[in-house]
Symmetry: C2
Subunit: 717 residues, 2 copies
Amino acid sequence: MEAIQSVLMTAQEARQLAIQLSQDTLLGQSLRAEQQQLDRYLAQPLECPGPGPANGYEHNRHKQNYIHMDLAGRFFLISGDERYANWLRQLLLLYADRYLSFPYHQQLNTNPTGRLFHQILNEHNWLLYASLGYSGIRHWLSDSDRQQIEQQLFEPMLEMFTVKYAHDFDWIHNHGIWAVAAVGICGLAINQPRYVDLCIHGQHNDDVSAGFLAQISQLFAPSGYYIEGPYYHRYAIRPLCLFAEALARHRPELNIFEFNNRVIKTTLDALLACTYPNGRLPALNDASQTMDVNDEGIVIATAISFARYGHDAKLLGLAQLQQQVFTHPAGAALSAAVSAAADHTCAPHWPSVELNEGPNGDRGAQGFLRIQGHDGQQSMAVMNYGQHGMGHGHFDTLGITFFNRGQEVLTEYGFGRWVNVEPKFGGRYLDENKSYARQTIAHNAVTIDGQCQNGFDVERADAVCGTPHFFIADDPNLQGMSAFANDHHHGVRQQRTVLLVNHPQLQQPLLVDLFRLIATDQQRHRYDYAIQYQGQIIRTDFDYHYHQQGWSVLGQDNGYQHLLRVADAHIAQPSTLVSWLAGQHYCSLITSANADAEVIFSRTGGADPSFNLRSTPSLIFRQYGGDHLIASVLESHGLFDEAKEVSVEARGQIQQLLVRHHSDDASIIDIIGSQFTLTVMINNHPQVNADSHCQVTLAHDSYQWRGPVAIRTTDLN
Amino acid sequence: MEAIQSVLMTAQEARQLAIQLSQDTLLGQSLRAEQQQLDRYLAQPLECPGPGPANGYEHNRHKQNYIHMDLAGRFFLISGDERYANWLRQLLLLYADRYLSFPYHQQLNTNPTGRLFHQILNEHNWLLYASLGYSGIRHWLSDSDRQQIEQQLFEPMLEMFTVKYAHDFDWIHNHGIWAVAAVGICGLAINQPRYVDLCIHGQHNDDVSAGFLAQISQLFAPSGYYIEGPYYHRYAIRPLCLFAEALARHRPELNIFEFNNRVIKTTLDALLACTYPNGRLPALNDASQTMDVNDEGIVIATAISFARYGHDAKLLGLAQLQQQVFTHPAGAALSAAVSAAADHTCAPHWPSVELNEGPNGDRGAQGFLRIQGHDGQQSMAVMNYGQHGMGHGHFDTLGITFFNRGQEVLTEYGFGRWVNVEPKFGGRYLDENKSYARQTIAHNAVTIDGQCQNGFDVERADAVCGTPHFFIADDPNLQGMSAFANDHHHGVRQQRTVLLVNHPQLQQPLLVDLFRLIATDQQRHRYDYAIQYQGQIIRTDFDYHYHQQGWSVLGQDNGYQHLLRVADAHIAQPSTLVSWLAGQHYCSLITSANADAEVIFSRTGGADPSFNLRSTPSLIFRQYGGDHLIASVLESHGLFDEAKEVSVEARGQIQQLLVRHHSDDASIIDIIGSQFTLTVMINNHPQVNADSHCQVTLAHDSYQWRGPVAIRTTDLN
């Protein structure tokens, strides 16, 4: 006699969820939405299609099938409605009947292929969800049905993954988590403990070289950060949470949620701490621009984190942003807490956080600065000064993004890929991902001598990392981070210091950016300080030459072949101002200039024979020098509502920026507004701390301060 | 003793509104939003600034002042709170003190200038709202205050408008309505009936040459359409409704809402009937892309129309789309009806409608086709086959736009203007409005021999108009409109037929477009059939040459100087397919081709030295010929949700389009899908009607049908 339960839920828990089906709670809404989706799918004819291209019709059908198999098993347990069990039984028998008759797909890249999908990663997805669904009806099936489904479908799959593809099975990689979670959950579903053991402890049974315990011990930095960035992290977190929850239920002796100093909690926290205030994930490394906290993996992680690690107001805020919960007992707990919190509708406010990288946390870090403006809204700056993200790494060490007033203002292009769009090379990564999206010039960074960082050499990039300088998070009106990239370009060391500063006379926090270049080779270099933005140029405070008859590419390689020269200017003033309209807000960027400085207005579009790139503008501040400081300040001001025909403060207050000093000791700049001057002083010593004292004496001025940063305001009236 | 009332509201009505302040109704919400806005404004220091540039700080301050003066007067009547009256009194006295000391602005274009604003149109706005506000506190003011305000402020303004600028005062033009409404309402507010009479009957007291009655009799076509398009119509409708409501209250003998066969109702209906299903206004003539039914004029018009002309379900739907009502007794009636309708939450569904143009309705028309798809959503096609829109006219006769699944898919660029954005030439129209936005090539139309329609000659354009051919609105699965432009290009007559077709095997309605060109001069011409879209090119079914090293302008004039050549192709197949991703949906356009056909992929950006244009892509299908038919079909299919990483049906069903026949008698095309062929037959006779019989015999086929359009489906399986 089979126990009435699935891998993730007991019959009693299912009854508790059933009660919620009619409630006006996040859980009730989520359950109803899923049940409606399932009912619509059941109205379609059953189909187990034969081979088809990546992300083509057949691919999508198999994907929809596994999504709904999981739901059918779950809703049979919850509702007891045999429609769901019958449908799932028929579909599984259909797969069991056909699966072994399908040939393996033809291999087009390095990923091994399956019988259903062009890469086994998708077949892992299929197995995980089909197994979860199956576990909800197994007790209800006849012995012969069970035998048919397990022997013709699940066991051959397990054999394929663990024997045929043993070399690729339980490695320490985000795909590896999918593999062990799928095989392990299937092992639980069909009651084959040896597969569960294999997945937990790895093929060599050493908990080091492979398997789930080794993976969660080694995949993440001590901070919990995942090297490939949040986009891949959220994809790995889904099987991680599901398998951990299954193990907590079926192998309680592992105490998996406490394992290794609560490593699961650490990594969930790190992932959630990356999000922008609107719930979007910053696109670090290869990532889409639109991935957000409504991703299934994050929805599951939110609930599991709450249920397994206890109450946290940020998780309630996150669930409200998501407006859904995982339809599982863990989600029920979260939903109940949200209902109890009632009027607590604030967005989740994570603090500024620096997430270290590398197995020992000494391979640089990712910095996430957050500041609350006078209007209560959060602005956020992200800087990468950690490791190269392996095969998905972008060559953007010291690259930043900036989020302000509901949108990414200094943007990250994201990957060169139209995910799952079949006519775009089956939704795979496109050539332009390498030739543009991963190049340094595609980022908010400095490209030196027209070269990509580390010469676009992944091995070289993997061997180096950024060096944290300081991180200031304790002053609500001044948040700062600073780091070095000493090994990313032969002959030039780089230092970037980013501050978020509230000033009483400004609506919005200022983003202050000091990008320092140190020519250890004593040579003159070309420094292209690039700004990626979206929007309409409103005005400049300098004359420029617009290429009215046409635009040519900026170069022939390293991403420049994709950039068209729209306009350019030679600059003969100490700083330049460019204002643009970013959605409904104005942004003004004031950037320091030296002799021979140029400003180039560019737009993507060169060398894009398949229209694979989006059309996006950028600004390149080109300056030549050896030891050099490029400083800028970004002011967000005013608003424009075209539909209401309202425009206010289309001109900002900051007018000029002067570099007073830069050396290995310190950098000093003046930010000159219409009503005040801000003097920003940075201690550049790598070992600076809160007690460090710094003194700089110039011809007419003398400066001294304590700690890594000081800001002095001078009122002009 | 003054009566306690304002121009638009009695004390008793105000008490009724006061009750609503705390209610959870559209009116309650609207009242609270306004009161909060007013309270925030009152917290700022009083200021009546001196001269400043168009849309600069001073301009905005005067504008904010008049908006809040109106609210202060209204909320004093509603709430009785003397804070509002005191604030308004002080501000009016401040203006009275300073107004005559301000010099007139310097005149920079043809508009006369005021003392507060760079053009008197804005000063009319000011007077209208200030007068409304004043009328709410006049009874509460001392005699000396009244005297001061009226003699130092209002009367000099009235004098300026009606004497100094008499030549510009009560003309029949949308600015004229603002002039008479402002002066007339001020006349009512300060109890000077002679100004009211002047405004009603005009300077010559003839009700023909000028004045409100002449304006509303002559400004609109019999259909109610306003020649300058909905963007200007909604701007004129605001003073029209306010002054009409004031006259209904203070000059009831005029019976203004019944005047001239309810001309006010006709024109309100016409305006509202133009809107896209999402509430946006199609940008006919000079217009922004974002103007919508939340515009103040349309919010007022919705309430006035409901209160004065009775219940209409469409108005309830409209109010729900607006989520606000006019805070006036008329809005109270509408709000109460919305509350009573309770669950009636559907969007307003207007039928397809052809709005005739010209004083007698015989100067062409504007066509608005709507069809409901299988998913219940409305698609809409708009075609201009009416008059040139005077000074704001775009040279786009037979131009179309298409709205599908929540967005404009075939787009209208709109005007070349950043409204109210001071650094963009004070928010005025920009040079690029003439050189690009108003040119034929900027529209979804055919540009012949690279020339703008009517040679961009406004006088010539005003002298001609389109000729309606047929309009079919009675079949829920087939809506159609067809028209001729016979006089817009020397030597070539044009005919365009647009159909919206539901087919059981297609998710979404098809847009079928037959653009016929008749070379009366027997010459060979170049026909550029242009498609304006937004989105990412996904695939084509032909090879093309991408200009990888750079893009050059397509021409030197008529808008081509602003278009860059991104890619192009010579076509050797009967039709071409181009798919793009429009937001979350795929669109495939299949266009017929003849020998020597080219396809040009272009993007704006040439000759734009001040970055005044938005960056938008377009497709140009270039074909040469004499009598010629360019036919196309647009299929909307599938969906792409990047955040959820879902893409389905990235390829549509329609594969090819064949032109079978075109002549003065008929046009016949085959639209070939994967599962069916649609044969579309159009009777081209100008006088076609439902009973017309048409027969065409070709080499292998014979076609006969009755009426203007027939569609035959052949299943292929």
